[in-house]
C-alpha cells in the first residue's frame, strides 16, 4: 500500500518536473532570442554604409561580453552572399572568416530571420541571423548576433535545483505523513491480530477492546467462530462424560452378575469389566484436564466449596466436627475442581480423624498471587515414609486400583494443572496436614 502511494507520488513529481523544466527552458530560449533580436536591431541602426559602399559599424552595445573573447557572445555583419566574411564584427571574435552555424540548413523565416546554433568562441551559442538591406544599399546584408547558451542552461539548472530541493522535501514529507497515516490506519488491525493471538493461545476467550467500525463485523465473526469452536469442544467433552456415565449402569449390572458364574469365568470377566471402567475414567479424566487448561478465567470461592463438602461430610460423619477458618478468598480455578480437591482431601482426613477435621485458607506468604488451603486431622497421621509413598503414587488413574492415597495423588495432579502444588506434613493436631497451593483470582502471579 505504502509502496503504491509513494510510487504514484514519484511518477507525478517526475511528470511535473519535466513540464516545469520544459517551461523554464522555453522561456529562457525566448528570452535569449529576444535579447539577441534587440541587439540585432541595435547593430542594424548603428551600421553605416559609406559612399564607396563599404560598411562601418561601431555600435555601442552596453554589454561588455561582446568585448571579451571566447565569451560566447559576438556579433558580425556580412553580406547574405558571403556569410562567412565579416564586414564588421565585435571585439570578441577575430579573423577574416566567420564559421558558419552548426545547422546551416535551417531556412530563414518570413521576416528573414533564423535562430541557429554555433560554436565560434568554443562556447555553445545561440545565433540570430537576420538578412536586411541597410541604408540605400542594394546589397543584402546579414546581421549576426550570438549569445552564450549557458544563460539557458543556467536557468534550467537553477530551476532544476530548486525543483529537486522542493520535490525531495515533498517526497520525504509525504512519505513520513503517509507512513504515519497508514500505520495509524492499520493500528486497529495490528491490535486485532494481537487479540486474535491471545484467543488462539487460550489467554482470552474472545477478541476484546474497541475496534473501528470497519473491522467490527470481522471481529464479531471471529468471536462467533471462537464461541462456536468452544461450544463444539464443550459438547464433545460433555458427550464423553455422558457416554462414560451412561456405561456405568450396565457395568454395575454386569459386575454383579459375575457372582453367579463359576469362579474362573467370573474372574476373567471382572478383570475385563474393571479394565473398561479404568479406560472410561482415563478418558473422562483427559476430557476434564482439557477443560481445565481453558478454565483460566473461572473463579471459585473456597468458603462456598468447603461449605458444600462439609454438608456432605457432616451428614455421613455425624460424630466428627468440621471447622473452617480464613478470609473469603476467590481462586482462579473451576468450582467443580475446587470441590473435588477439598472433598477428596477432607474425606481422606475424616477417614483418619478421631474427632476433628480443620480447613484453613490464607494468602500464600512465599508466592504472591497464590493462596494456601490447609486441611488437618487429629488422627494418627502418616510417617515420613508413608507420606512419600502417597505422593509418589502419581500414576495415572487407569494404572492404579482404588484405595487410600490414590485420591491424594489425583489432587496433586489437579493442583499442578492450575500451576499449584500439594504438600504433606505432620499436623499440630496429631494427624496429617495437607497443604494445597492454588492461584488466587484476579491476582498477578509472581514468576
Amino acid at each position: 500500500m505504502l509502496t503504491i502511494i509513494i510510487g504514484w507520488l514519484v511518477i507525478a513529481l517526475v511528470a511535473t518536473a519535466i513540464i516545469v523544466i520544459t517551461l523554464v527552458r522555453t522561456n529562457a530560449e525566448r528570452e535569449l532570442r529576444s535579447v539577441l533580436l534587440a541587439h540585432a536591431y541595435g547593430i542594424m541602426g548603428a551600421a553605416e554604409i559609406q559612399a564607396d559602399g563599404s560598411l562601418t559599424a561601431r555600435p555601442q552595445i552596453g554589454d561588455p561580453r561582446f568585448s571579451l573573447p571566447s565569451s560566447g557572445w559576438y556579433w558580425a555583419i556580412t553580406t547574405a552572399a558571403e556569410p562567412t566574411v565579416p564586414l564588421a564584427n565585435s571585439m570578441s571574435i577575430a579573423g577574416d572568416v566567420l564559421a558558419p552555424p552548426l545547422d546551416d540548413r535551417i531556412p530563414f523565416d518570413a521576416r528573414f530571420q533564423r535562430l541557429v546554433r554555433s560554436k565560434v568562441s568554443g562556447e555553445d551559442e545561440s545565433r540570430l541571423e537576420a538578412q536586411v538591406y541597410l541604408g540605400d544599399s542594394e546589397t543584402l546584408y546579414q546581421v549576426i548576433v550570438a549569445g552564450n547558451r549557458s544563460t539557458v542552461v543556467d536557468a534550467i539548472w537553477d530551476a532544476t535545483e530548486l525543483l529537486l530541493l522542493a520535490f525531495a522535501a515533498l517526497i520525504l514529507g509525504t512519505a513520513i505523513v503517509t507512513y504515519l497515516a497508514v500505520r495509524q490506519g492499520l493500528k486497529p488491525l495490528a491490535d486485532a491480530r494481537n487479540a486474535l493471538a491471545a484467543v488462539r493461545s487460550g489467554a482470552e476467550p474472545e477478541m476484546s477492546g474497541t475496534v473501528p467500525a470497519e473491522i467490527a463485523p470481522l471481529v464479531d465473526e471471529i468471536n462467533q467462530l471462537a464461541r462456536g469452536n468452544r461450544a463444539t469442544l464443550e459438547r464433545a467433552r460433555h458427550q464423553v462424560g455422558n457416554l462414560a456415565h451412561a456405561l456405568k449402569t450396565p457395568l454395575s449390572a454386569a459386575l454383579n452378575e459375575t457372582d453367579r458364574l463359576e469362579p474362573d469365568a467370573a474372574k476373567t470377566i471382572r478383570r475385563q469389566l474393571n479394565s473398561m471402567r479404568a479406560k472410561m475414567n482415563a478418558y473422562l479424566d483427559r476430557a476434564r484436564r482439557g477443560a481445565r487448561r481453558e478454565a483460566s478465567r473461572e473463579r471459585a470461592a473456597v468458603r462456598e466449596a468447603a461449605d458444600g463438602v462439609f454438608r456432605v461430610m457432616r451428614k455421613l460423619n455425624p460424630d466428627l466436627t468440621f471447622e473452617f477458618a480464613g478470609p473469603p478468598l476467590l481462586l482462579r480455578c473451576d468450582s467443580e475442581d475446587l470441590s473435588e480437591i477439598l472433598g477428596t482431601v477432607v474425606e481422606n482426613a475424616a477417614r483418619h480423624a478421631r474427632a476433628e477435621v480443620s480447613v484453613s485458607v490464607s494468602p500464600n506468604k512465599e508466592q504472591t498471587g497464590f493462596a494456601s488451603i490447609v486441611v488437618e486431622d487429629d488422627g494418627r497421621g502418616l510417617t515420613a515414609e508413608e507420606r512419600a509413598i502417597v505422593l509418589k503414587r502419581g500414576e495415572r488413574l487407569d494404572e492404579v486400583s482404588e484405595g487410600s492415597g490414590l485420591g491424594l495423588s489425583i489432587i496433586a495432579e489437579i493442583a499442578s494443572d492450575y500451576g499449584g502444588t500439594m504438600a504433606l506434613d505432620p499436623s499440630a493436631l496429631g494427624g496429617l496436614k495437607v497443604t494445597i497451593v492454588l492461584p488466587e483470582a484476579g491476582k498477578q502471579v509472581s514468576p
Partner: protein, 216 residues
C-alpha cells in the same frame, strides 16, 4: 423392614431387589421416576435406594419432591457421577448417603443397613434386648449366645420391633413394613408371627398393648 428400589435398568433392579430380599427386607421396585415418586410418597418405607438417572423424573427431582412433602425416610442415592460437586448436590437434595456406579450390590446393602440403623438412632450394628441379640449385618439372631433359626418374616418382624425399641407399634404399621406391595396381607398373620417369636425366644420379649399394638 420394607425398602423401595427405584432403578430403570431391569438387570440392576433385579440384582438389587434379590440382594435386599435375601438380606430379609421386603422389597418394592419402581422402574421410573414417576412410579418411584408415587410409591415413596404413599407407602411407608424404612429406606429407599434411588437411582439419579431415571427416565421421566430424575432421582434428584423425586427426592426433592419427597422431602418437600415431609417424606423423611433414609434415601441412598445411586449415581454414575462421582465428582464431589455431584455428591454435594445429592446431599443438598436430601439424600442420606450415595453409592457411585459401578458398585457391588453388597455395598448397597451394607450402606442401607447403616442408614436404617442410624435413622432408628442405633450406633451399633448389633441390637440387643435382654438375652436376645440381632446382628443387622449378618441378619442373625442369638438367644444367650446361641443362634436361633427364624423365617424371613419372623426376622423382619423382630428386626422392626427391635429397631423401634420402647415404642408401641400398631398392627397396621407392622403390616405396612413387613410386606411388599404385592403381598396378600392378612392382619391375623401378625399375631401368628408374634406368637412364634415368643415361643422361639422368650414370652416377655414382645409385650401386647391392648387396642394399640406391640412393644419390645
Amino acid at each position: 423392614m420394607r425398602v423401595l428400589v427405584v432403578e430403570d435398568d431391569p438387570d440392576l433392579r433385579r440384582q438389587l431387589s434379590e440382594t435386599l430380599a435375601e438380606a430379609g427386607y421386603a422389597v418394592d421396585t419402581a422402574a421410573d421416576g414417576e412410579e418411584g415418586h408415587f410409591l415413596g410418597d404413599t407407602e411407608p418405607y424404612d429406606a429407599v435406594v434411588l437411582d439419579i438417572g431415571l427416565p421421566g423424573m430424575d432421582g434428584i427431582a423425586v427426592l426433592e419432591a419427597w422431602r418437600a412433602n415431609e417424606r423423611l425416610m433414609p434415601v441412598l442415592l445411586l449415581t454414575a457421577r462421582d465428582r464431589w460437586s455431584d455428591k454435594v448436590s445429592a446431599i443438598d437434595a436430601g439424600a442420606d448417603d450415595y453409592v457411585t456406579k459401578p458398585f457391588h450390590t453388597e455395598e448397597v446393602l451394607a450402606r442401607l443397613r447403616a442408614l436404617i440403623r442410624r435413622a432408628a438412632g442405633h450406633a451399633s450394628s448389633t441390637l440387643e434386648i435382654g438375652a436376645v441379640s440381632l446382628d443387622t449385618v449378618k441378619a442373625a439372631v442369638t438367644l444367650d449366645g446361641k443362634p436361633v433359626k427364624l423365617t424371613s418374616l419372623e426376622l423382619r418382624l423382630l428386626s422392626y420391633l427391635m429397631h423401634h425399641k420402647g415404642k408401641v407399634v400398631s398392627r397396621t404399621e407392622l403390616i405396612e413394613h413387613l410386606y411388599d406391595q404385592d403381598f396378600d396381607r392378612d392382619s391375623n398373620t401378625i399375631e401368628v408371627f408374634v406368637g412364634r417369636l415368643r415361643k422361639k425366644l422368650f414370652p416377655e420379649l414382645i409385650e401386647t398393648v391392648r387396642g394399640l399394638g406391640y412393644r419390645v
